[in-house]
């Protein structure tokens, strides 16, 4: 199939931005804030539905950062100081791991608006991957980063089982830290082998489609090892990845192509996106084309709402055209 979906936190629409600012200044209370979140969530879902995306998220508008639900709800962790979110002018709270990590209560559903997700369309949930969780944490308890990553994998498994039970059909694990590598240090084979083992734990018994979504870095660095990761789809940030190097490999599983740039307000030229995607698909699938998802390269929250909404429509139109011209159904 050729599908499309979003890959992260959506921006808060203007009304919600204003409500959260008013709340910070104590001009409105919890109730009014909650109402603003609900209305914005309906808007975020409607934007995805009307564009005809293959999987729908609730927009993740309450997520203060990708890690925060875990930082706030896992036993053994407390929220630390603000730290820069990769090479962006945005910040996250560093999880400080103080004791053994345990899954004590539901993590995502405390923030998610399941009641607004429509029944007729499959739901997608987005979670941090174990490697990114470990890399971005301050580890004061486990022997090393590897041990911490496996501990995160255990709690992710529990969380995913519970989310699958609620009806989610697609789980994206966001793993920017795996490819963000500005100083170009080599990623060791041992690390990639450990990442694979941790992913195995996370998706074990999962009756759900999975994707490891990478962004902010060059996906080709983790090839060919990533082709063996136990996930259905691999997500690639095409604004950070060398197309030439990517095309040297034949893929044996699905891909999520980060074809629109969520860190640029410029609305892309659809003809160009179509051409780039088509060439890439034909090149990485020399014999049999696997499933392809057209998506933003990372969280759309880097944009004001209107631009994000427009980019959602772009991914949908490009996916439709690819479907028609490559003669793929479904």
């Amino acid at each position: 199939m050729i599908g499309c979906y979003v890959t992260g936190i959506l921006p808060r629409p203007k009304e919600l931005v204003e409500a959260t600012r008013a709340y910070e200044r104590r001009r409105i209370g919890e109730e009014e804030l909650e109402k603003a979140f609900k209305e914005a969530t309906i808007k975020a879902i409607e934007a995805q539905l009307s564009a005809g995306l293959s999987y729908i998220t609730d927009g993740m508008l309450k997520w203060q950062d990708l890690l925060r639900p875990f930082t706030d709800n896992l036993e053994g962790i407390k929220a630390g100081a603000l730290a820069r979110w990769f090479n962006n002018n945005t910040f996250y709270r560093k999880p400080i791991v103080q004791s053994e990590i345990r899954h004590k209560k539901a993590i995502v559903t405390g923030l998610a608006y399941l009641e607004y997700l429509p029944k007729g369309v499959p739901w997608k949930v987005i979670l941090p991957a174990p490697f990114t969780l470990a890399r971005l944490s301050e580890n004061k308890f486990y022997k090393n980063e590897g041990e911490l990553m496996f501990s995160y994998a255990d709690v992710l498994k529990i969380e995913i089982e519970s989310l699958t039970g609620m009806g989610f059909k697609y789980v994206q694990l966001s793993d920017p830290a795996l490819v963000y590598n500005p100083l170009k240090e080599p990623i060791s084979g041992d690390t990639l082998a450990d990442v694979k083992e941790a992913l195995k734990i996370v998706v074990k018994n999962g009756n759900v489609r999975t994707c490891l979504q990478t962004f902010f870095g060059d996906f080709s660095q983790i090839l060919p090892e990533a082709l063996d990761f136990p996930v259905d789809d691999l997500g690639i940030d095409l604004y950070e990845t060398s197309l030439e190097k990517l095309e040297e490999h034949a893929f044996n599983k699905g891909v999520a192509l980060g074809l629109v740039d969520a860190r640029s307000s410029l609305i892309e030229d659809e003809n160009e996106l179509f051409t780039v995607a088509k060439e890439l698909i034909e090149s990485i699938y020399p014999s049999k084309i696997h499933d392809v998802f057209i998506c933003p390269n990372c969280d759309l929250e880097f944009l004001p709402w209107e631009r994000a909404e427009e980019k959602i429509r772009v991914i949908s139109r490009v996916a439709k055209r690819l479907k028609a011209e490559l003669g793929i159904h479904g």
Partner: protein, 384 residues
């Protein structure tokens, strides 16, 4: 400056309610007006009744608003002078904010709206939609006013081009290269490069030129975004941008950068040409115990700048601007002495706050600056 350990601030000071609301034309409460009277007395400012008259008006004319701007600048200048600083400016009272002030005064930009910074904090982000065009000076009036109102040495804070570009969507240049460079990553980098050097040529250098003509002797280039992207391509771009910005002017330049990756910055600092000073944030990283040596954990990275061969001065951050803790003079002294020992040449240390004081109240800022000045005096005594 001949004096050992001269003292300076970095730039911004909080804007009093009377400045913000007064300028917007909003009504002021009695306590807000009383704040102006109170600080006017404390700072020995003459003729504050004139200001109060304007603040009490129901409707304010453009001349009133302009007067409020000038009053607030005068208050801030006296504030720094009274605290005892050797090098002063107007606390950036003239500017809305370091980013918006420039973008709003230059052609080619459009604000697109608020994007998340963290939690419920956002910033108004602009896009470059056409080639940046310089239409009018945006720092010169403020500089001239400051000079007229002080006898102390003046340093002009100037938002750097690399940061302006990093904080702005780059629509115009990305669109221009659309279809011309196939690889998206290379295209973005090239578009960024073109944006940056056009901005320097069309806007930044013309403004510096006006400042120098108006008599500016020292311009501090503020680049908080310098190490946001620590890759070698980006760091080289940053260095090239700084060098191009300051090239050929008969003026002293310095660089301010804070809350950044100093391991990365240190590697490139020696390549900054005509950079007489690096004003860096250290106090925020440091312990609060007195003493020199190992206890001064926050100043570890200073050594890196030395090891990589930076030869200029340091604007040594000895005051943490993110806490109300008032650093005792002894702590300030020990931070200075510790740094002087690392650098091995006391004349290369200027005493400074970590960053602008805009998030602290005037009371806290004043107490902090006074102690900074006392600490510098203690450090001078310790060495003579």
């Amino acid at each position: 400056m001949d004096k050992l350990f001269p003292t300076q601030e970095i730039g911004s000071l909080a804007k009093p309610a009377w400045r913000v609301k007064g300028y917007r034309g909003e009504p002021l409460s009695e306590s807000e007006i009383a704040e102006a009277i109170d600080w006017g007395q404390r700072l020995g400012i003459m003729g504050v009744d004139e200001l109060v008259k304007i603040l009490k008006k129901k409707e304010r004319t453009p001349e009133d608003r302009r007067a409020i701007l000038e009053w607030s600048a005068k208050f801030a200048i006296r504030f720094f002078e009274n605290a005892g600083l050797d090098i002063v400016f107007d606390g950036e009272q003239w500017r809305s904010e370091m980013y918006e002030h420039v973008i709003r005064n230059v052609e080619g930009f459009k604000f697109l709206g608020y994007v998340k910074s963290f939690d419920y904090r956002y910033f108004n982000k602009a896009a470059c939609i056409s080639k940046p065009k310089y239409t009018k000076p945006f720092y010169v009036e403020e500089f001239a006013f400051t000079c007229k109102n002080t006898d102390r040495e003046v340093k002009v804070p100037f938002t750097g081009p690399y940061t302006l570009v990093d904080w702005t969507f780059n629509e115009y240049y990305e669109r221009r290269l659309s279809g011309k460079i196939k690889d998206f990553k290379q295209r973005k980098l090239e578009a960024r490069r073109e944006f940056l050097f056009d901005l320097i040529k069309e806007v930044v250098r013309p403004e510096i030129s006006r400042l120098v003509e108006a008599g500016a002797k020292w311009i501090q280039i503020d680049e908080p975004a310098a190490t946001t992207n620590p890759s070698s391509e980006e760091m080289e771009l940053f260095v090239e941008a700084f060098n191009e910005t300051v090239k050929g002017f008969n003026c002293t330049f310095s660089l301010h950068n804070c809350y950044s990756n100093y391991e990365v910055l240190a590697k490139y600092a020696a390549e900054l040409r005509n950079c007489s000073q690096l004003a860096l944030e250290f106090a925020n990283r440091d312990s609060r115990q007195d003493g020199t040596g190992e206890v001064r954990v926050g100043y570890r990275e200073l050594r890196l700048f030395e090891d990589y061969g930076f030869k200029g001065n340091y604007g040594l951050g000895v005051i943490d601007v993110h806490t109300d803790f008032i650093e005792p003079p002894e702590l300030v002294r020990d931070r200075i002495l510790h740094a002087a020992k690392i650098v091995g040449d006391s004349s290369r240390i200027h005493v400074s706050t970590d960053c602008g004081l805009r998030t602290r109240t005037w009371d806290v800022s004043f107490a902090k600056l006074k102690n900074m000045v006392l600490g510098a005096e203690l450090a001078r005594k310790a060495l003579t």
